[in-house]
Symmetry: C2
Amino acid sequence: MRTMLEKAGNPEVEVVLWDGSVITTATAPVSVRAHIRNRSTLYKLLFDPSLYFGDGYSLGTIEVEGGLVEFNEAIDQGTHKVDTQGFYRDRFRTSLSWLKRNTIDAARHNIHHHYDIGNDFYQLWLDEQLAYTCAYFPDPDDTLEAAQIAKMDHVCRKVGLKPGDSVVEAGCGWGALAIHMAKHYGVNVRAFNISREQLAYARERARREGLEKQVEFVEDDWRNITGSYDSFVSVGMLEHVGLKNYEELGRVIARCQRPHGRGLIHSIGCNSPRVLDSWTTKRIFPGAHVPSLSEFMRIFEPQKFSVLDVENIRLHYARTLEHWLERYEQNIDQVRDMFDETFIRTWRLYLSASVAAFRAGSLQLFQVVFTNGANNEIPWTRAGLYQDRESGSVEG
Amino acid sequence: MRTMLEKAGNPEVEVVLWDGSVITTATAPVSVRAHIRNRSTLYKLLFDPSLYFGDGYSLGTIEVEGGLVEFNEAIDQGTHKVDTQGFYRDRFRTSLSWLKRNTIDAARHNIHHHYDIGNDFYQLWLDEQLAYTCAYFPDPDDTLEAAQIAKMDHVCRKVGLKPGDSVVEAGCGWGALAIHMAKHYGVNVRAFNISREQLAYARERARREGLEKQVEFVEDDWRNITGSYDSFVSVGMLEHVGLKNYEELGRVIARCQRPHGRGLIHSIGCNSPRVLDSWTTKRIFPGAHVPSLSEFMRIFEPQKFSVLDVENIRLHYARTLEHWLERYEQNIDQVRDMFDETFIRTWRLYLSASVAAFRAGSLQLFQVVFTNGANNEIPWTRAGLYQDRESGSVEG
């Protein structure tokens, strides 16, 4: 156990065993500790710390004292201290992950696993429009609702939507962005998703708001996008695409985005190539991969797209997740009416560890704006993104 | 010749031979044509079009009608049309370029070749502060002088300079940015350069402005940077570093930038890995390489730096170069007093082809802001870059 902590960069935590003995490599008094309830949990931990810490926590054979976010943050900060030789090891492991193909069938299965567990559940802790991606807080004290709207406006401004434009959205969740673009920017949207529950919700909302003619929700994979559009927009789908399919994604974009259009991909990322921890990829997001920027570029470089703007809003995702976690805990009784205790603890850990990862810098959030390499119809500066922010959308 | 034009994507140009015969693959009437004066120039062109177009133009065995910028732009636009299979060929050729090492000695030779040909010459066509890098025009109609100051402020704001900070600058040219930072932001700067003529000018200017205590100009290679600083800044040096040395550059930055500091690298780049044309690397910038963003990331990813912001201001470089070319032609008589006609034509072609390359999208200009992966002392949004722009610098 001590060796494991050393390998993990000596995080400022303590591990307390079932017999009361304390294991730590911390050099100062710590405020967070994990309690391991039995020997078999310890053995599993030594075998695959990420997977069995998660599973142990879910099952209650591991308890955490001093805050679940804080414990995970201490672990992540330890990992950062481990030397950069990890770069080559991680790059090698990432290259192995190419063996996993997110085929259309596998993608459908993976997406169903996470997103089709009930809209009611997500309504308990997301914002009122069910935007399940990083918000953008012009002011850190903005409400989650305001920050999700600001994020949508930020995206619309970055791709420069004009009334009458056509937009294709890959991975549209519950449809918040598609509907926002149609309603406030006067554009026509075709939005693709393979989560049936999300689509049913999105279609119903579009119908209710009288936007069925402007927004078409399509139940299909991004690989099957056809047609030609002014903008390709994708917010929070790339994480599920799989590294091996990035070049294909680039070809799809090149095929469907018009020469003068600007596109945007918004995705969780990381600072150097790595594979996600085993717990996240087994229990939370099967098939997920979060790209470093060099990996991200595999979408654009083969097509000679011009990357115009990359913004990293990592701390905004920490803030977003803090809101989600707070709402989750506030509504925990209602979650308990829907799911068992293992589920409750799994999702508590997932949200808490995610807050920690974005705070500690283990994860990033990239928004990348790109266009055809020969397109000169691009904004002269980015100043327009920061004008009249208070008034919300610029058109519509 | 016709085959060569086809391979080059059928650019909208004509080639007129010494006997008056016209070769073209253009589909519409063209406004630009090249005249080839003799047979040996044609043969050389077929062997290495880039190198011998340049050499032929310099020597006057090739003349261009309809505008040198416009001719080059038509050529570049043709190249874009060539299919994207070129990606793999170019990536292979780029990997071969790793064989070239820009050692300290080679770097010194290469830099001397371009930058030590006389400050008087550069004074004829650069701005009054001799900033020989892409300017930033908040308004496209700004003067070159104003745009170079705006560029320096843009850089200083991006790295968040505060009075009393220390900055190391790698590749400082004639010292404009180092002096600007010291004078307007109250920081202490150590600026490295291996061009002796530039350094002599920079030191004299710092002395004249009473800034010797705040700005130290060091005649040494970036590999020999020592000490610890709040910010690492490099504007227009990366082009000379050589792809093989990017990881070493990252290690130097990791060694010398403090954990809470932000750094910035400003460099010409391209949309996908490629080698520069043979004329540019033989006659203008020996040892030069312009990175794609995935290549750029080789500086940051092994060190697990967090990339916060990438801005592509390609069209600003086209504008900058238009100013330089215009001043160059305005002062051509004075250039003629210093150099022979071959030199004059070489530099005319270099400036014109560069305008064309940035206009056509063959070259990009990236500003990349980065920091230590665990640093949370980062700006909440980028809005601060766009406030009170008119008033110039924010401090000092």
